[in-house]
Symmetry: C2
Subunit: 480 residues, 2 copies
């Protein structure tokens, strides 16, 4: 029993209603595993409480969690249970929870929350996160929420929304710590103590600016603590990496990753400092961009764990229909040479192996190329070298596979010409796969398109067609 | 001309040899695009200087870059050119450049650098980065380098190396800022000023510890600047997210991403604070882990932009050989029903379409499942719901594709039974694909294996086999 309840123990009923300080701790241990992932058992406990209509228990279970975990919990619940959880959420938390939610859950929660509550919740967020949420509202509700907000917060959000989606302007906070070149460490510390509210909740670097408010250097705030008060900033500042306000978020992520930045100043075209981006916003971008590549290569967009069957069908069917068209074109190679197959059915058995191996080899090259392009390790400076290398790899892999498959074919069918046919076709297809797998993403990148999107359908088409075509034309020449 | 050279303009030759202060700036502009990626033209300039044997120019070009960009440049050069660049590198920079290099380049540079130089270079690095480099050395050189290092640095590196690879213990720095619970903001600031060298170069949070040195809270150092000197730390500290020293780096990355951490304390099993992990080390882990999934799904490991043809063949051929085996098993379904094809060659044309669409549908499900497992959005709490949803999506996609392909088959072959055969086989295969695409990664995850590795070969085998088998058995029943 906790100390706070000792004076009440003469009435045992009190022990049942007074919340114990340890109780929250215990629930937290139950909620999260050692890896800080939400336990399935905890989700069950929430569902049980909702089934029993026990709002008190529901509130207790939900409030034992961090906002990020509440957002995670919502994703594991079905829509009916979420409707019961939303009303018990603490309004002061709501903003942070909304900011953490998956896209389609966020829409659902936004629709279910009154505009006035939403306005209050968003005032608690940084301007970049609040703008992100506002952007998801329909026109009518957006106007209502903005009207209900504090003047300053509204202006900050509207300025942020004026920048294009997925650019530095959208990621940046408009609050930051800047100091003129001629200040000392002491003057800067005093300024921070006075500025108080005008500073962001968290800041990591001081940006040193010239009279036109252009950044000329930066220093981590730990340097303010470790250097003497009289040290001029100009003496200890380091070169600064500026981010243009219209830069794509993928580029911003690349720069943060490359130079190990914690924060960076954002500048307007003239060079004027207008905001800062911090690494915590970038971690999410890096994960999302890498995951987008996985999905794009598979020809699918992620509709989230809460998407309906209809949403998912709509996101996947177009790709499959496109695949039906390309595959129909690929098999036309078979249709043209049908007579060969009628004469030797073994060709129908062996063709798919040649096609499939080509497809796999092409996908290998493609995945490596997409990764290298994304991390800017492949560009005009080494493209020729990489293409030649991929062709050599294709030739070697093709030769080894051709020998293995040719021998297996001979053992099985006792037909040397058939074995040679299959072997030659395999070399041709693996080399074709290598060429397609490296040239398709390079060409898309050069055209300013995302190399992960649509290269895989092209490479699959190419290797399927080549697999059929090579087997059947070589057969037509050798086996007549 | 720059001001520094004006007094020399009476002798025009001087203008050619005296380095201008702007020159470094100009080179930097030439080197990097607006997106901070290395310009291919700059790589050409380096190659030109090396070809001319102009060491001075080479040194100038290389030293205009940031260490991260030098590492990037090395990746774009071929081995011969790298050999010319390595000797011109400033020894004080060498450590940082080595830390940034791609794995196989790093090995090359480590071999080319004398142990004494290496020991000096590594002393400039944080203990985690230095340990990482030491770990790449062969036994003999490792002993030499460690022996040449400063006592304290050697001890720190040896302690770090005692932890397993890819765990929190390896990522953490042993230097951090901790303060007892009863201290005030002012006492903490005074401690920082005195501690000086014992603190890491960069730190973002103060960890508040109890007498047993267990973290009980944390606060960002910006709070030291914005709060009054007499404020007790216990009053303003926030709950802290501890990382266990043996936690896998992928879990650490998940926690940093989820809770938007900038730094976190690392604790030993007893709870004692032993180090800190900062977000700049985690950004790289997040990118690497996501990229590993792309490559694993494609059945390839990245050997880097500098790998030899042999390295690449060795990394890709085993997967292709495995694919040859599984595909041979899959086509055995065709071999068994060869007579069907001999009777109706159209089956040989249509089968590959059914197989290919199944493969694509399976890959879509697989990519989404792997992503959801990686971000812990799919677990025991919602697995059943997701499986049912995938099956429904498979059935709907299968029906639509079956109708389209069935009609096309009828138009082309004027054979209703053939059209029905293909349609039924397609539904069966797309549903099979959905089941395989979701169950394979779930099963691998449950077995504690990486769901991205080897699920794709299983799903491809399954859909290829099912594609052939379904078309031919249904044909055997309907078309006799």
């Amino acid at each position: 029993m906790s100390r706070e309840t000792t004076d009440l123990t003469d009435d045992p009923r009190h022990n049942l209603v007074i919340p114990e300080p340890e109780a929250v701790e215990d629930l937290e241990d139950l909620a999260l595993g050692d890896d800080y992932a939400l336990n399935p058992e905890y989700v069950e406990m929430v569902i049980d409480a909702a089934d029993r209509g026990d709002t008190g228990r529901l509130r207790e279970l939900v409030h034992a969690l961090d906002p990020a975990d509440v957002a995670d919990l919502m994703g594991f619940l079905s829509a009916g249970y979420r409707e019961e959880v939303i009303p018990v959420l603490d309004p002061e938390w709501l903003g942070e929870i909304i900011a953490e939610l998956d896209d389609n859950l966020r829409e659902e929660v936004l629709e279910a929350t009154p505009s006035a509550t939403l306005a209050k919740a968003l005032e608690e967020l940084d301007s970049d996160d609040a703008a992100d949420v506002i952007d998801d509202l329909d026109e009518g509700k957006r106007a209502q929420v903005l009207a209900a907000m504090d003047e300053g917060d509204r202006a900050a959000i509207e300025t942020t929304l004026a920048y294009e989606d997925e650019t530095a302007g959208r990621l940046m906070q408009r609050e930051f710590l800047a100091a003129p070149q001629f200040w000392t460490v002491g003057q800067t510390i005093d300024h921070v103590r006075e500025a108080g509210d005008r500073l962001p909740e968290l800041f990591f670097d001081v940006y040193v600016v010239d009279p036109s408010f252009t950044p000329v250097g930066a220093l981590p705030i730990s340097q303010l603590l470790t250097n003497k008060r009289e040290t001029p900033l100009a003496e200890i500042m380091e070169p600064v990496t500026e981010i243009a306000v219209d830069m794509d978020q993928e580029e911003v992520a690349y720069i943060f990753d490359k130079y190990h930045l914690i924060s960076a100043p954002v500048i307007e075209p003239g060079g004027r400092l207008v905001g800062q981006i911090t690494v915590d916003d970038i971690v999410g971008v890096i994960r999302e961009e890498a995951q987008e590549d996985i999905l794009a290569l598979a020809g699918v967009s992620d509709t989230g764990r809460d998407a309906t069957v209809n949403d998912i069908v709509r996101s996947r069917l177009p790709w499959l229909l496109l695949n039906l068209v390309t595959e129909t074109i690929a098999v036309s190679a078979i249709a043209i040479f049908q007579d060969q197959i009628a004469k030797l059915v073994a060709l129908a058995v062996l063709m798919p192996i040649v096609s499939s191996l080509g497809g796999n080899a092409g996908t290998q090259t493609l995945a490596v190329a997409v990764r290298a392009l994304a991390s800017k390790e492949l560009n005009a400076a080494n493209a020729r070298r990489i293409i030649v290398r991929e062709l050599s790899v294709g030739a070697m892999n093709g030769l080894v596979l051709a020998v293995v498959m040719g021998m297996a074919t001979f053992v099985f069918y006792h037909n040397a010409k058939l074995a040679i046919t299959v072997g030659l076709a395999l070399v041709a297809n693996i080399v074709t796969a290598a060429l397609g797998g490296i040239l398709a993403p390079l060409a898309l990148e050069k055209m300013g398109r995302d190399p992960a999107v649509s290269s895989s359908i092209f490479v699959t088409f190419l290797t399927d067609f080549m697999g059929f075509f090579a087997v059947l034309t070589i057969a037509a020449l050798l086996l007549r």
